[in-house]
Amino acid sequence: VGVCKQIVAFGAALLGLVIAFFPRLTDVAPFWQSVVGAAALLTVNLTGIALFVLVWFFVQARSRYPFLYLERMGNAMPFFYYQTLDRHRSYKPLPSTKGILSANRFFLTDLRKFARNLVDEDEDVLTRARHELQQYYLLIVYQGYLDQYEMQLVHIFVYASLASLLSILIVWLFLWI
């Protein structure tokens, strides 16, 4: 993602340079004009690929893991904040006085619920073992999603870059020279 951000920035800058110096490029020999054209095409392609990878990354960040919809098994109280914290909380960056009071009320209520849950869990060994197993499994599934999402981004970038390079080479050889 960091590489794609840099490609988008440098790609835009390079395109600006090509547009700025285009009148001078008309004096260059046709062969070098075709080389510059192929380089500009590669820049456009890479910038588009990087932009697509970034958009796909935003889509991944926006997605909600499917197991979170399982309230008792996939989103149990001690492991994920969706279930541990009250969903009516406000997350405004600049809260009013009323908002601060409301948030603190939610804070204390959720703390009481959380503490009671832990105490109950300690009293029953079987419940605690069940929660631990759930937590291990959820961590594995969560890590799986993260890895697969990252792999998707790498695959898109590598396949698209190689395909773009090869297609530009073919276009340059058969259409421009």
């Binding site: 285009f22 695959h155 396949y159 395909a163 773009s164 276009v171 421009w176």
Partner: protein
């Protein structure tokens, strides 16, 4: 593939390489880039400059021929052929004239350079280019007249030198 063999070697991707995915991406990019390249070929942005360059090309060829002709005449005239004093004086005179002619040739080359620069400008300067073309042609005609006059003088000098030799 066992665990040991999978640890060795370089892998381009974290997952398995898929030719199907690669072919799909390649087809998409080939279509896109071909369309862009075809569009650029159909509507070249430097079209106007190419037209002007084509219009200037015959003028350039004519002037280069003219310059070559002048150079050949100059080399013929500059050959040390006469031992007698009057003929060498005539030759000196011709050389002086040829130096002046060379200055004219330089002017033509400068005009040629100006025409080249005009060729890369846009179509608004088409009128300026026409005027420059006319002046270049005029300069070429003047040079031709000068060449004829010099040739005549050289012939006159040659005949007087041979007459003196006969005496």
């Amino acid at each position: 593939m066992d665990l040991n063999s999978s640890r060795r070697g370089f892998r381009l991707l974290p997952g398995r390489w898929s030719w199907k995915s690669f072919v799909c991406w390649f087809a998409a990019f080939l279509a896109l880039n071909s369309a862009i390249a075809a569009y650029v070929r159909r509507k070249p942005l430097s079209h106007q400059n190419q037209e002007i360059s084509q219009a200037v090309a015959p003028i350039r060829v004519a002037l280069e021929l003219e310059a070559q002709e002048i150079r050949s005449v100059r080399s013929e005239v500059a050959m040390p052929d006469g031992d007698t004093k009057p003929f060498s004086e005539i030759t000196k005179g011709i050389r002086k004239r040829m130096i002046r002619r060379k200055a004219g040739l330089d002017d033509v080359e400068a005009l040629l350079g100006a025409v080249d620069r005009l060729a890369v400008m846009n179509s608004r300067q088409q009128q300026t280019l026409t005027k420059a073309e006319a002046s270049v042609l005029e300069a070429a005609a003047n040079l031709k007249q000068l060449e004829r006059a010099t040739l005549k003088q050289a012939e006159a000098g040659d005949s007087s030198g041979s007459n003196r030799g006969a005496r």
